[in-house]
């Protein structure tokens, strides 16, 4: 197992659209500071941003954990939202349960989870209706990327 170099946790509060994306911005600054390549940073913060927006839209709070190892970046997002009844359906591009208000803000077009999957090297999602959802994304940052 690769040595862990860094671990940070961030809290996201739901329904606050003005602040939504701040955590992802902080993650971007951190990864740039430690010298991760621009392409890997971009993929990682897109995953973080899409996940953060889902939390803001649907949950009251979540924790985003960033773990950096010698080989990869792992993002874990765990929220207390309503849960996803049908994950396969939710992963389909274009499928959305967003309100009209969310769409007016530019979100809820049904591309969030597909984008997270697209930009991850490994992606895992578990969810329980009434309890919440947990996403885990792994992005490799070795020289062969």
């Amino acid at each position: 197992m690769s040595t862990e170099l860094l671990r940070e946790s961030y809290e996201v509060h739901g329904r606050n659209f003005d602040k939504a994306g701040e955590v992802s911005g902080n993650i971007k600054a951190l990864l740039k500071e430690v010298g991760i390549s621009a392409q890997v940073v971009r993929r990682t913060v897109i995953v973080a941003f899409e996940a953060e927006m889902n939390v803001v839209m649907y949950a009251s709070r979540a924790t985003i954990t960033l773990a950096l190892t010698e080989d990869s970046i792992e993002l874990t997002i765990e929220d207390d939202g309503p849960g996803i009844p049908d994950i396969e359906q939710a992963m389909q591009e274009g499928y959305s349960t967003a309100s009209a208000e969310m769409r007016e803000m530019g979100f809820g077009f049904g591309m969030g989870l597909p984008n997270i999957n697209r930009h991850s090297d490994v992606f895992d999602i578990t969810s329980k209706v009434g309890k919440g959802t947990k996403l885990r994304s792994t992005i490799r940052h070795n020289s062969d990327e």
Partner: protein, 136 residues
């Protein structure tokens, strides 16, 4: 070539606009008659790809950075999305301009912000005819 082929050739219209490698952001600003609201890191970026959308996740679906983002969405998330995607600039269509708090975020991020009175369809047509293409 028979008459049908000749007709078909005429109906198919003008040849596809030649694909250009890039255009400078400053050249695009001139083409679209933009007003520069925030200069940010400047207008010298070479633009190779465009994303035009009011859906922020559509902006983030692309796999390349450095794109020019065209949008009518003026909320704070438009600038956050541009920063997350590493867009080279944001151009708002239909003369739209964000409020000061959004512009302040753009200044903090050195993100160039421009506006044009053109609508999104016309913007896309002009840039397509100039040889640029959308992000894949």
């Amino acid at each position: 070539m028979n008459d049908r082929d000749d007709t078909k050739k005429k109906i198919s219209g003008a040849a596809e606009p030649k694909r250009r490698t890039s255009l400078k952001l400053s050249e695009i600003a001139d083409l679209l008659k933009c007003e520069v609201i925030v200069e940010g890191r400047g207008l010298e970026a070479e633009v190779t790809d465009i994303v035009a959308s009011d859906g922020m996740s559509e902006v983030l679906a692309g796999t390349k950075s450095g794109e020019l983002m065209i949008t009518g969405l003026t909320n704070i998330q438009s600038i956050r999305t541009a920063d997350i995607s590493d867009a080279c600039a944001v151009i708002y269509c239909r003369g739209r301009r964000p409020v000061e708090t959004v512009l302040q975020l753009a200044r903090n991020q050195q993100m160039p912000v421009l506006t044009t009175h053109l609508n999104m369809f016309d913007i896309c047509g002009i840039l397509y005819n100039a040889g640029l293409r959308g992000v894949t």
